[in-house]
Symmetry: C2
Subunit: 238 residues, 2 copies
DNA sequence: ATCAGACTTGCACACCGTTCAAGAGGCGAG
DNA sequence: CTCGCCTCTTGAACGGTGTGCAAGTCTGAT
């Protein structure tokens, strides 16, 4: 074995560092190679693809979320803890949302998380498919929570690359905001961030609020047998 | 005014067609120019940026979601209808998730949707910030639901570009799946799609199920005064 | 000492978003 | 009619990207 030979793990963790620092656009194979002290194309021996690489990176991070001990806590705190862990993880690595929207992640780390989540809802008393659905519901909710911040992060990174742009962008957003405020008085009244800065329809504590609401819904559902429900139409009428 | 001059609207709708057909990687300025019968760079006179362009496209689509008449239906059906409209829209344009994770969308169309959603939850009886939070909760949930399909779409598009890859990818996924199934028996038992194809932890009807659960949670919340709730820690302990 | 294989390298290709100076075309003023 | 202006388009060019490929280097076993 050559003295200085690359490792898949080395590559992945270097990639994660680059991704955390500069977002998904900041990771180029050449930069990664430079970081590793190797030629850019050396990576291709250990990893099939760039997509594959960020997939590995993503799965690595899934594996690092710590999981609650189900014998120690009730299902609701367990679920809350798992959601919080995932939420925090997505917050620390905003590029993940871009990665996940580009390429599905199947991997050991992700499976580990899913498995534990399933166990939580089985413990709660959900039977069969209901456990899958309940688990997926909070999973999907947490993902959605991460989207806004991820977009903001990505935008900020991009703006800070060419300086001078930020203030022009702020001006654009402010103009947009006042135009919108004029047309939709309810929005102006509600969203305090409407005078300039950034306007987001998602308040900061949506995660806590929404998660609590979802778990409330689960509890009320566990009390009574599940009512039959017709699927909604996914097609827009016109 | 020159006879054949480009319009912002022309550009945006052409961009949407390209995006729908080939995903976000399939939209290149040169292809767009070709489609419009112009040079690639002509677009830059009407639009600042590529990011800007897909932002406009996204907002256009927000504007096309049809909104329920709040005088005709109760709040729960209204909320369900709005969520379904958004869900369908995201399903028809899978590239949107990638766009949204890359660049926040502020625009008239989005504002219109947000405003109406707010009205729904005001009608439901949510007061002040609670309306924002409730609205944001289902918003964020629907976004999360769209992530998986979006990723799948993007992957499929990419695979079908270079042929021969698809079957190799399927083989990889299948191998991965059996390895995972061996390690996590609970997952194998639960997820039927584990024998090959694609493995997703999110069942098909998660949208209907989760939405109903969320709205259940809202109803139980509307019944009693909101309990005080401490914010969860966003930091991982270590 | 030799040979096979594991790994690395540099070059090359095709494509990308974007800039910019130069050009073309219609329109109002003279 | 014609001139100049302003709006809009163009083609070339730049620096960057992911990746394929033939050639090279190093290491450990024979």
């Amino acid at each position: 074995m050559a003295r200085d030979t690359l490792t898949r793990d080395q590559i992945v963790s270097a990639a994660i560092e680059l991704l955390d620092a500069d977002g998904i656009d900041g990771l180029s194979m050449r930069r990664l190679g430079h970081r590793l002290g190797s030629a850019a194309t050396a990576v291709y021996w250990h990893v099939e693809d760039k997509d594959n690489l960020v997939g590995l990176a993503a799965d690595e991070l899934w594996g690092e979320v710590d999981l609650p001990d189900l014998d120690q806590v009730d299902w609701r705190t367990a679920a809350t803890s798992m959601a919080a862990g995932m939420h925090a993880m997505l917050g620390h690595h905003p590029w993940l949302m871009q990665a996940l929207s580009n390429h599905p992640v199947y991997g050991r780390g992700k499976a580990r998380y899913d498995d534990h989540a399933l166990a939580v809802f089985e413990k709660a008393g959900f039977v069969e498919a209901a456990a899958d659905q309940a688990s997926a519901t909070v999973f999907v909710f947490v993902l959605g929570c991460a989207l806004g911040p991820a977009a903001e992060f990505s935008l900020t990174r991009r703006l800070s690359r060419d300086k001078g742009k930020p203030e022009q962008h702020l001006a654009d957003v402010a103009a947009q905001a006042t135009e919108i405020a004029a047309q939709f008085p309810r929005l102006r009244q509600r969203l305090p961030a409407f005078d300039g800065a950034s306007y987001s329809a998602v308040p900061d504590n949506t995660f806590e609020y929404g998660l609590a609401a979802i778990l409330d819904g689960f509890e009320s559902r566990l009390g009574r047998p599940a009512p039959p429900q017709a699927p909604l139409s996914h097609e827009r009428g016109h």
